[in-house]
Structures are given as C-alpha cells and as structure tokens.
C-alpha cells in the first residue's frame, strides 16, 4: 500500500441500457410480464473495464481519452458517487471533486452561504471552512458580492467562486473534470497555477481535460482510456503524444471528394520523401515534399493555397502560402500539382498537415489535420523543441 493516495484494481462499471435502467412503473411491470416468458434482451455498456492503477500521494495523474472513454465514470467511482460493478477503488483522505463547475451551489443562497455549504458537502465543519474562507474569497475576487445570492452573479464570478471553493477546501485528493473548458485565458492561467500549488502542498490530483497542454504541465503521469479500457499508463509526454498520433489518421496521402459546382477544389495531398515515394514516416535529416493537387474549373482571381504544419499538441510550426511568392499564379482553369519542399529543420516527432484553399475574400476549402507524418531520428534528450536548425556556432578565444 505504501504511500499511495489512490489505488484501483480491476475496476469495471456496467450500465444497463433500456428497460431496466429506470423509467416508469409501467415499463417495469411490462418487463415483469415479459420475463415470465423468456429473459428479456438488455443491452449493456461497460463504461469501465478492468482498470487498474495507483496514484502516489502528492502527485498528479492526468486522464485522457475521447468522449465516452470512461474518464468521467472513473472520477465518479473514485469519488464514491457511484458504485463499481467489479473491482475496487480505494482512496485515502478526504476527496473533493469538481466534476462540474458550480456543483453544490444553490442559486438562492448567497456566496458566503454557498462556500459553507460546499465545505459541509466535503464533510468539513464550519470552523475548518472558516480557516480557508478569506483565501477562497480573495482568489475568486467576489468580496463585494459575498452576501448576494449567487443567482445574481455573472457567469465569470460564479465560475471563479466555484473553482476557488473546490481548490482551497481541505481535500487531500482533488478530482477535477474539464473545468478549464470554460472561462477566459486569465482565469485558466490562475486555475492552472492554483492546481500546481495544490500539488506542491502534497495533495493528490486527478485531472481530466481535453487541454493536453495543461495535462502535460500539471501531471507527470497520464492514463489513456479508450472505451473503458486502459490503453496506456506512463509518463505524460510519451502517453500524450501516442494518444494524439492515434487521433490523426496515419496515412501519407489523402484524396478529396469532388465538390460539385466549386470553382476550385482540393483533389489530393501526399507527402513524399527525398526519393519521391509517398510515405508517412520520414527521416528527420532529409528534406521532404508536400504535394497538393488542385482542380480549377473557372478562373479565380488571386487563388491562394496554404499548407499548415502543426505539432500534435496543436502548435502551428509552418504556414506556407503561395501568395508569399508574387511570381506564382494558380487561378487558371485546369489540373495543377503544387510541390512544397520542407528542408530538414523540424525536430523528430509527429506532425499533422492541413490545407487551405481560397482568396482574400472567401474560403473555398479548409481541411485541418488531413495527414499525419512522423519524423524519425532526432537527437535524443531534447524532445521539447519544435525546430532543430543546427544554427552556426562560433567559438574563439576571448580578447
């Protein structure tokens, strides 16, 4: 057991869909009647299946996976809101959850009353809550509105207070689900800061977010769930990149459907190595070519095409347009093939390629993340950079 704060073994959660999942009395009575004949067909859904992991005290675990992967169900089991169907989860210490912003807030009660209500929900006495009260109010910045019912709060104030309460009350384990999906950039920055300090205080955090950057920053380890099962558990930088790579189609070329009636449209995209072979796995230290086929039916003035290359975390690295070259023209009717040569400047890793076709006045096509490529053979030990330029150094004796 050691110094773990959370232990999960063989956890499974089944939901029954259809008649037995609740409903009206008539449905159940009808169900009884039918059951006498033969067993009714019930469809079931395993929202979690054989999930096991441990979280050491004072560390943060990120949970990633697509919608419906079972992340929220897992949090619900950890917080004991619902019971698992198989397996067991154990937690040590008070569990605070922020599964939805404003959970446990009552609109008719004032800000002050709601803070105490949330404390009570955590099983904290009035005195315990008192000790944290000023901190909470300061973080949320709602001093002047403490005695106003929260139903009169702006959504921003509501959000700030809700987060402040959850993050400051004395829970040894904090479960956070997608709070950062809402709120402005400033608020998100403060939330992340606060969560980092929660970690430093030695508390344990389980964090669900679609914001992978936030997970990478906050959580050293990461659990990837898909359809209720663990795909991978390990260091966040590794798991997150694999998760992202799985999300984009691993294909080296894409043929677009014809758009009837369009004046100009994208036909195909392919990535070729220095031998001219289409492939999605390329050497980092050799140039590669992005080849785009475009079909133009009617003349389009100043037709423009741009290629966007992004890291899998969504950071744009390149955005190259033919309009950068005034001598090039694309708008004449016919089939065109455009080649863009990318010199060996990108670091090893996964990238996605997107295309845009249009003019200054209209978008004709905008295809994000069409193709993903993998550059192999980087210098080990420095995975945290996008460019690898080998810029010239000079060393000479000081004068």
């Amino acid at each position: 057991m050691g110094d773990n704060a959370i232990e999960v073994e063989g956890l499974g959660k089944r939901y029954l869909l259809g008649e037995d999942a609740g409903g009206t009395m008539r449905e159940t009575l009808a169900g009884f009647a039918r059951r006498r004949g033969r067993r009714p067909q019930r469809s079931e859904l395993w929202s979690l299946r054989d999930v096991s992991f441990e979280v050491p005290q004072g560390s943060a675990l990120g949970l990633i996976g697509r919608n419906g992967a079972g992340k929220s169900t897992l949090l619900k089991v950890l917080s004991r809101i619902t019971e698992p169907t198989t397996g067991v989860s154990r937690t040590r210490g008070r569990v605070g959850s922020l599964l939805e912003v404003g959970t446990g807030f009552h609109p008719e009660l004032t800000g002050r009353e709601n803070v105490y209500l949330n404390g009570a929900i955590l099983g904290m006495g009035r005195r315990d809550t008192n000790r944290r009260f000023d901190e909470i109010v300061a973080f949320a910045g709602v001093e002047r509105f403490l005695d106003t019912p929260v139903k009169r709060y702006s959504s921003g104030m509501y959000l700030r207070l809700a987060f402040a309460v959850a993050a400051h009350l004395d829970a040894e384990i904090l479960l956070v689900d997608e709070v950062l999906a809402v709120g402005d950039a400033e608020f998100q920055r403060r939330c992340l800061g606060r969560m980092a300090s929660v970690e430093r205080e030695g508390r344990t955090v389980v964090f669900v977010s679609h914001n992978l950057d936030a997970i990478v920053r906050l959580c050293p380890t990461c659990l990837w769930l898909d359809q209720g099962e663990v795909v991978e558990l390990g260091p966040t930088s590794v798991v997150a990149d694999r998760y992202l790579a799985a999300g984009v189609q691993q294909i080296e070329q894409k043929v677009f459907d014809e758009v009837p009636g369009a004046r100009a449209s994208l036909r195909a995209l392919s990535v070729r190595n220095s031998d001219g072979t289409a492939t999605s796995v390329l050497r980092r230290d050799e140039p590669f070519t992005i080849e785009v086929a475009v079909s133009v039916r009617e003349p389009v003035r100043d037709l423009n095409l741009a290629v966007q290359v992004r890291t899998l975390r969504g950071v744009p690295v390149l955005n190259e347009a033919i309009s950068d070259h005034p001598e090039l023209h694309l708008g004449t009717p016919g089939e065109h093939v455009l080649r863009l040569e990318v010199p060996p400047v990108l670091n090893a890793g996964d990238y996605s390629i997107g295309l845009w076709l249009g003019t200054d006045f209209e978008d004709l096509a905008w295809e994000e993340d069409v193709v993903s490529i993998h550059l192999e053979g980087g210098v080990a030990g420095r995975p945290d950079r996008v460019l690898q330029l080998r810029l010239p150094w000079e060393i000479r004796p000081a004068e």
Binding site: G22, T24, R92
Partner: protein, 279 residues
C-alpha cells in the same frame, strides 16, 4: 500546509455491494453539518422571497382547522370530545401538517438534490433526514398559536403534557421512515410523484384529524390503527387536551410505525448505490 496531508488517514473503499449494507451512523455523524446545512438551506430558500414569511406557517393550519370546524363541527355535527372544535382540530392539524410536509419533503429530497447526488459524494440518507427538519420550525410557530388558543379558551393541559414530545418524536420517525421509503421508490419510478399527493389526501381522512377516532366502531379499530399516525394523533391530543387516552389498539400503530421506519431505511439502503446512475 503539508500537515493537512493525512498519510495516516484510513482507506475508504468503493466496491460492489454484496448483500446488505450496514447503516453507517458513524459516517452520518461526520456529515451532521451537511444535514444541518441542507435543512437550513431549505428553510432559507422557502422564506427568502416570501413576503409574509413565517406567517404562512400559521395561516395554513389555522385555515384547515377553520374549514374542518365549519364542515365537520357545524354542518356534520361531529363530536369534538368535549373540547371547542377549533382548538380540538387545530391540535391535530399541527401534527398532521408537520407529518405531511415532512413525508413529502423526504420523498422528494433525492430529486431536489439530484444535482448534488450525481456530482458529489455524501451519505445519501442525509438528504431525507435533512428534509424532515424544516417542518419543525413551522410546527413550533403553529404551537405558539395553539398555546394562544388554549389560553383564550381557558384550557389548561394536565400532567400528560410531559409525554407530548414523545408523540412528536414518534411522528418525526414515522415521517422519516415513510419518506425514505418513497424517496427511494420515486428515484426509480417518477409515477410516485403524481400519486403521492392523492395518497396524502386520503391519508388525512384515514387519520382522526377532523373527526374523533371513536367514529370507527368495534373490531375495525384494530384495522384503523394500522395507520401509525392514528395512534400518534390520539396520543398527541390526549397529552395536550386531555381527550381519551389511546387504547390497546395504539400498540398496532406503534408496531406498524417501527416496521415502517426499519423497512424504509432498509429499502433506501438497498437502492442507494444506484441513485446516481438512475436519477
């Protein structure tokens, strides 16, 4: 800050329940502030935007008692056991109003707190428990009026009065038992919500609020006392007004009351693990 980290805190397990779940009184005690808070919240919310506030706690039972006095006392000439009809029926109405408010509150408590139940953990029993409490405030206000009525009519309770709290506690427990039972059922079957108003109306007439229990004859008395509230109202009236004391049949009420409380809690516990999934 690190002193908050409870490395020596006990492990709390969440695993599938096999068989019966124990009533976790210890845990409920740890959450007593939540119970108090939910109760206070209900009271505040109820009166926050009501101009007359607490006045409603008086007007409603008084109006009921007045209607009973006219319909049953004046028109139907029903006996009020030697006590002025208004005082006599108002005494029972105070207890009955509490009972119906508490049962109805407890029954709806899970749905009313659905947002909490699906988003945070707390002992589920805290919700119905908290919702039988606010009615006591209304009852207290109504009792002040009752004292006024007694003084006005020159009536003084006898030594039986010391037993009145016993009947009140009994009413709270029975309301809690029935409330938890129906709370659990309502989560699964929303139909109950529709039916329950009707049930409470019928129940009122199966309880000696507007007529004396002696109206029910002979062996039917035993059947009549299957309604636990019958014994409670009889005892309540007896302890305050000195009307005839509850007879042997009241033991039936007592037994049914205990069974209801235990059974209600049992059903609640059996289904509580599914609340968050079903609600």
């Amino acid at each position: 800050m690190t002193d908050r980290v409870a490395s020596d805190a006990p492990w709390v397990e969440n695993r599938p329940t096999r068989g019966r779940r124990a009533l976790q009184l210890e845990e409920l005690w740890a959450y007593r502030e939540l119970v108090a808070f939910l109760a206070v919240r209900d009271i505040k919310v109820r009166y926050k935007q009501a101009v007359f506030g607490g006045a409603w706690a008086v007007v409603q039972p008084l109006a009921s008692a007045a209607i009973f006095t006219v319909v049953f006392g004046r028109l139907a000439k029903v006996s009020s056991q030697g006590v002025p009809f208004l005082v006599w029926s108002f005494t029972a109405v105070t207890l009955w109003s509490y009972f119906s408010t508490a049962v109805n509150g407890a029954r709806g408590s899970l749905l009313a707190n659905a947002a909490l139940i699906t988003k945070v953990y707390f002992p589920r029993i805290a919700a119905p428990l908290a919702s039988v409490l606010p009615g006591l405030i209304d009852l207290a206000v109504a009792l002040v009026v009752l004292v006024g009525l007694l003084v006005w009519n020159g009536l003084a309770p006898g030594p039986e009065l010391v037993l009145a709290p016993l009947f009140l506690v009994g009413t709270v427990l029975v309301a809690f038992g029935i409330g938890t039972l129906f709370a659990a059922v309502t989560v699964q079957y929303r139909d109950v919500q529709q039916v329950f108003g009707l049930v409470l109306q019928l129940w009122l007439f199966a309880t000696p609020v507007a007529y004396p229990p002696t109206l029910v004859k002979g062996g039917w008395q035993w059947v009549y006392h299957l309604n636990p509230v019958v014994g409670l109202v009889e005892g309540w009236r007896w302890s305050i007004l000195g009307t005839p004391a509850p007879g042997r049949q009241a033991l039936v009420s007592l037994a049914v009351g205990v069974v209801t409380l235990v059974g209600g809690l049992r059903v609640f516990q059996r289904s509580e693990r599914r609340f968050a999934d079903v609600i």
